[in-house]
Assembly symmetry: C2
Homo-oligomer: 497 residues x 2
């Protein structure tokens, strides 16, 4: 895999000097165009052998291009805020918005390679990390990002020579860290696992570019050209047309049965039972959140449901059990300008709770496969891929100890009608009912279909959906609080083993 | 000061039950109106004696109102990301945007009171903290925020009784933390310093409301009513008319001399001197940023200047000295939607570097007193108060160890004309010149006046302005890098003492 990068590529000064001015000018223009279009972000990943000129190349690119439009990010020691959340959170918070370029040093590849090279884990875990990286990049590209991955290579001999020459040059000796030297001993392992990683993560949408690092002229020109060509191609390309080709249709129910139709909508609680059970479950919830095992977990509760199904009321019964300092409610409305400049899931990642905390999402990332699907706010390809993106997202949460509880509050059409009419008559409830609600109601069947598909495709052993029969608000509220309690207890019990 | 809150206020159940429904409805409506107008944020500060019902009241408000529009925030242990920045950073990052309500537990008052009560510092430091709080709140109110400050009080006897009854009630005993009990011993000190703080920070724009905490009915109604009245008054008020009355005019130069006019614009460096001096200063900068004393500091460099004065080129010469991982360049353009929903300085606070880091602002918070003043984007009252807000802001940076270096790159009109014309002719520089640049040029004298005022009012011993004679780019670049070096060395030397 590194054969072509060990043959001693070089460019002489004359050829180099002849090419640089035009390259530089073209890069600047592409950068400006990127900013003007503000249509996609550029993510440049910098990996490879120590001493192969990673830092120098990035420095040079910052000199050639306008450094004001480039964010160079380094990910070394995690902060405690990062340690309290899923590993990918630190990358999500650093993603460049559309129109900007982020250069990621010490990215997900460095982390997995360091771990494997130093024997922190074996191939199986490395492969998990590889799959995670692949999925992240696939998703970023689907969202329009341009990802350019550079691997700077040196043969073992070249590396040793380079490190030695750097050491002997007093002007540059500070550039070598002890880590670099250490790497010369781990070179073989690094290259072996590097090949595994590159082989499995070089994909059409985000291929690796292997750069021989010996000759600065060669390496600079090679990187500059790849960057320029990638930028120009992406700027000329209209991604609106992308990925629209082959969207496999979802099957429709071929008898009349549906998941929502199978719910027993007559379930109810009388007032006395309700009050007793609710207070019991609320006390249980309060206790669980104060349990010291909660420190190892976080809790995310997602509330979706028909309009007027009682999401707000259910959320308030959950909240009422708790000290307001323990939870945070995130109402999901239209994305802000900064959110629109990022991949779809970014606006949820930013609200992921730290360990020990509880976030309630009042509507959620499932908007993609519900309202956005039904109303045509995104393309079928976009919401189709959302199912697996969401599954990946939730898996990352769960892997990090987050307990994910998801509710669909279901009512029937007659109940909705009654509640709409009631809302229109009670003054302080009037703001809860809008034209949109009536419009959505006309699309009842389409929403039901979308809900069925959503549950079928995203209810899993790690983050199951709970369908809540909500014609009776009392029944629904008790079921919601109880379900959260059961999920927490299960997580606590599992951890103990 | 607490006399009225020790007389045993109470409301009987009947009166309470009679009032609550209407109060609740009105609060919900005000909340909805707040969201609709999205014109200002509401910040509720919760302080006072332990056991006086702070937590219970906030919980109740969350039940009465729609908790989805309220963020309850608690500030206990600082995270390492917070510890690496000025103390106020944690509050800035948690500010509610316009249209939302943030309830701050454990806010700046709790911190200063804890510190004083436990003898971490004496009155002088407490008074500094008080002044800081006052200035922060004044600024927030000037920016339109509604601040409501509640102090929950109990007499010493009441407090002891309440803690005891809570302890004896098995359902509530978990509510008392060891800290609460400890407070019963420090009650006297807490009340004494509390009075000092309240006396000095109860201002017309953000008065304290002292609530006797013994009777839940009384305390809940009292808080609910104050909240409602404050909200209704603010919603009815048009802040556009506020603070416009008395803006003291700035004096104008009464002879023909000006600060910028006094610069020696003939200063220049020949090529050889330039190359030698630049490389020397760059090496010095690289060394300083790698110095271990840098770990105690952060560096902020602000670049302002005439159009075409060479800000970009100067920034690049600074950047060229460094590893791109060491600095971050923040170009300041029009604020985003999320930034517009916050106080003016918010969008700069979010980019304040952690200790050990370096942030370069390409244009900055000084836009308020430059382009916004000259173009009339804000009112005279707004930019007039900006001088002291900026001084306060920079003082907080410097107090936290941030070295603040500010450059005004000055060129004369003839030089600007030549550069504009040159830019229009060179293809890859063409994007650097816009209609705006020509328009700004027509307002040369107004900008000069604004720069003079800015320097006079914000150049201080802690964060001085450096005026850079930039007709000769070489001279300017060397002066910029050298000035940064001198500032860093001075900071390092000072710390040593």
């Amino acid at each position: 895999m590194f054969e072509s990068a060990e043959i001693g590529h070089s460019i002489d000064k004359e050829a180099y000097d002849a090419e640089v001015p035009a390259l530089r000018e073209a890069l600047l223009e592409a950068q400006y165009e990127l900013k003007q279009q503000a249509r996609f972000p550029v993510i440049v990943l910098i990996n490879g052998i120590e001493g192969a000129g990673k830092g120098e190349t990035v420095k040079l690119l910052n000199e050639w291009m306008d450094p004001r439009m480039i964010d160079v990010l380094t990910f070394d020691q995690q902060t405690d805020e990062e340690l309290a959340r899923p590993p990918a959170w630190r990358y999500w918070r650093a993603l460049p918005p559309k129109g900007r370029m982020g250069v990621f040093f010490g990215n997900w590849y460095s982390q997995m390679l360091q771990g494997r090279v130093h024997g922190v884990f074996k191939d199986a875990v490395l492969d998990q990390a590889i799959t995670g990286a692949e999925r992240l990049e696939q998703m970023l590209c689907d969202e329009g990002a341009l990802i350019i991955k550079f691997w700077f290579h040196l043969s073992k001999k070249q590396m040793k020579a380079r490190l030695k020459s750097l050491k002997d040059d007093p002007l540059h000796s500070w550039k070598i860290s002890p880590l670099d030297w250490q790497q010369s001993q781990t070179y073989d392992r690094f290259v072996r696992f590097g090949e595994r990683v590159l082989r499995r993560t070089s994909r059409d949408y985000a291929p690796w570019h292997i750069i021989e690092g010996v000759d600065p002229n060669y390496r600079s020109l090679a990187v500059g050209r790849i960057l320029l060509e990638s930028l120009q191609a992406a700027l000329a390309n209209n991604p609106k047309g992308k990925h629209q080709g082959n969207v496999a249709p979802l099957g429709h129910s071929i008898d009349d049965r549906s998941l929502l139709g199978a719910l027993d909508m007559t379930l109810r609680l009388d007032k006395a039972d309700y009050q007793e059970q609710l207070i019991t479950e609320q006390a249980r919830l309060a206790g669980l959140l104060r349990d010291k095992r909660m420190r190892r977990h976080a809790l995310v509760a997602v509330f979706e449901g028909n309009d007027a199904a009682g999401k707000g009321g259910a959320i308030r019964r959950v909240a009422a059990a708790l000290d307001p300092r323990q939870y945070r409610i995130v109402p999901i409305a239209a994305p802000t300008e900064e959110e629109r400049a990022q991949p779809y899931l970014w606006r949820f990642w930013r609200h992921i709770p730290a360990r020990g905390k509880f976030t309630i999402f009042d509507r959620s990332w499932y908007g993609r496969v519900l309202v956005e699907r039904v109303e045509g706010f995104c393309s079928p390809a976009d919401w189709m891929r959302a199912y697996s993106e969401i599954n990946d997202f939730e898996e990352q949460l769960v892997d990090a100890g987050v307990v994910v509880v998801k509710f669909w509050l279901a009512i029937d059409q007659q109940t909705q009608l009654e509640r709409f009419e009631e809302r229109e008559q009670i003054p302080f409830k009037r703001y809860k009912i809008t034209e949109d609600d009536w419009r959505n109601r006309d699309k009842w069947d389409e929403y039901s279909q979308a809900v069925g598909d959503m549950v079928d495709r995203t209810s899993s052993e790690i983050a199951p959906w709970t369908l809540v029969e909500a014609n009776d608000k009392r029944w629904a509220r008790v079921k919601v609080v109880r379900t959260i309690n059961q999920a927490l207890e299960a997580a606590f019990a599992k951890h103990k083993k």
